[in-house]
Symmetry: C2
Subunit: 275 residues, 2 copies
């Protein structure tokens, strides 16, 4: 039933309504060092043995290349739910690969409005915005207790000068983010509330499915307000649209537990949206 590309450690057991892990707290008891006030896990977990390597930066690398990458990704960092991995304006030194947990990124305008620009899950990279000006251009906030691999950017550039495969994979990841952003523009610029939410749910389940989770049941890690911000809607509209989908038999909605009961119906609302 689980079409696992790789086994996630400890998928939280027997819950029928969701097969997403709710915590991954087990590993965090490892010995931790500290560096500049942020907690860093001293234990090094090699990319070469990481179960996310088929979704993350190492895609397509050979074993020898992987061992070089291992020496680069020297530290992991734990970020508690609600805390920021980085803030707008922070000096940019590293990009981060989500190892466990869930993040949002958001940008803010001077007059206080803000916009969620993405949600990141295991294997996805954070911080690419910082290359442009050597300072981060958004906030990255953990939506649950999370762990990231710290990838010092200077060393990444260095290593990707040595290995064209790594270089190309890194470029692909940046390019994919651009393509994804354009898909979001299409969504924000031309879709109505129902279409936006349907596209959002299909995108989430597709990504979860690629990580071995159910394609039909999911637990939202974000609030209605955060969904609304991402989709350019108010939280009330998001809530109403969830209720509407439920009335129409497309979903079962219990707060953050969502079960898709008519995927074709959702798809019919969208017909598009890449990324």
């Amino acid at each position: 039933m689980l079409n696992s590309i790789f086994p996630i450690t400890d998928v939280s057991g027997s819950s029928a309504s969701s097969n997403q892990p709710h915590g991954h707290h087990g590993e965090q008891a490892e010995s931790q060092g500290s560096c500049g006030g942020v907690k860093l896990d001293a234990f090094k977990v090699a990319c070469s043995s990481c179960n996310l390597r088929e979704l993350c930066l190492p895609v397509g690398l050979t074993q020898p290349q992987l061992s070089h990458l291992d020496s680069l990704v020297a530290a992991r960092r734990t970020v508690k739910r609600g805390d920021a991995l980085f803030h707008t304006g922070d000096a940019f030194r590293s990009v981060y690969a989500v190892r466990t947990g869930f993040f949002k990124t958001r940008v803010s305008s001077e007059d206080g409005r803000d916009q969620v620009t993405g949600f990141q899950m295991a294997g996805e990279l954070l911080g690419l915005d910082g290359i442009s000006t050597d300072r981060h251009a958004c906030d990255a906030i953990a939506l649950e207790d999370s762990q990231v691999c710290v990838i010092p950017y200077g060393q990444l550039e260095e290593l990707s000068r040595e290995f064209s495969d790594l270089q190309h994979q890194f470029h692909k990841i940046m390019s994919r983010e651009i393509v994804r952003d354009h898909g979001v523009m299409l969504l924000l610029g031309s879709m109505r509330a129902e279409e936006r939410l349907a596209a959002f749910l299909l995108n989430l389940t597709q990504r979860l499915h690629a990580r071995g989770f159910s394609a039909s049941a999911l637990v939202l890690r974000m609030t209605r307000e955060e969904i609304g911000s991402y989709l350019g809607l108010k939280l009330e509209t998001v809530s109403r649209t969830f209720s509407k989908f439920q009335d129409e038999g497309l979903l079962e909605v219990k707060q953050r537990d969502i079960r898709i009961t008519n995927e074709a119906g959702l798809r019919a609302l969208v017909n598009s949206v890449k990324g």
Copy 2:
């Protein structure tokens, strides 16, 4: 009056309503070869002597590095107004630097809607979306007769393995595109029509100013519909908003000729939007 960072050849003379060049047709009479049905200019114009080098890929490179880049950017391509530089699905082989002219990029959903994702002017790069899947993920359409430098992507990766400065500059350009896209998301997700159009105009004039044009007078290269698509509005709304700005004394609008008469007033409408 013209705060030129560099002199653009032949800024079209004495027009009071605009100091943007309307064509740059002069150079296109050069001898041209052909390659796969597309016109390629045989004349090689070196990056090292290009007046756009401070805005384009070569930013920050030394003379020796520049001469290497020169050997890479071997061809220029002419694209007539209305024609595509590339289409969605085309094989990705090169990125392109706009030399003269003006482009739009757009993505399309399966059900026919499309969204303009950006407008590109001299010195800006096109085609970065293609790295992700080896196929272009959008259409790039010339909004006026234009000329681009063809930068074979494989060779660019190669050369950027050799020169870290080039590598870093290329990464910066990709990152900047990501940051810009996030700014557009903020615009689409949280701003009202007036704010969107004000932000759009300020962004355009800022970029034109960086290229030596007036910060207050501009000629729009795109239709109301294209502006609307970019801003997530209908063309009627764009038109109405232009009229409203004119009534309020912020602009003088004569079809595509725009003169900003109260920049502070425009700025007050926005207070934000990067990119």
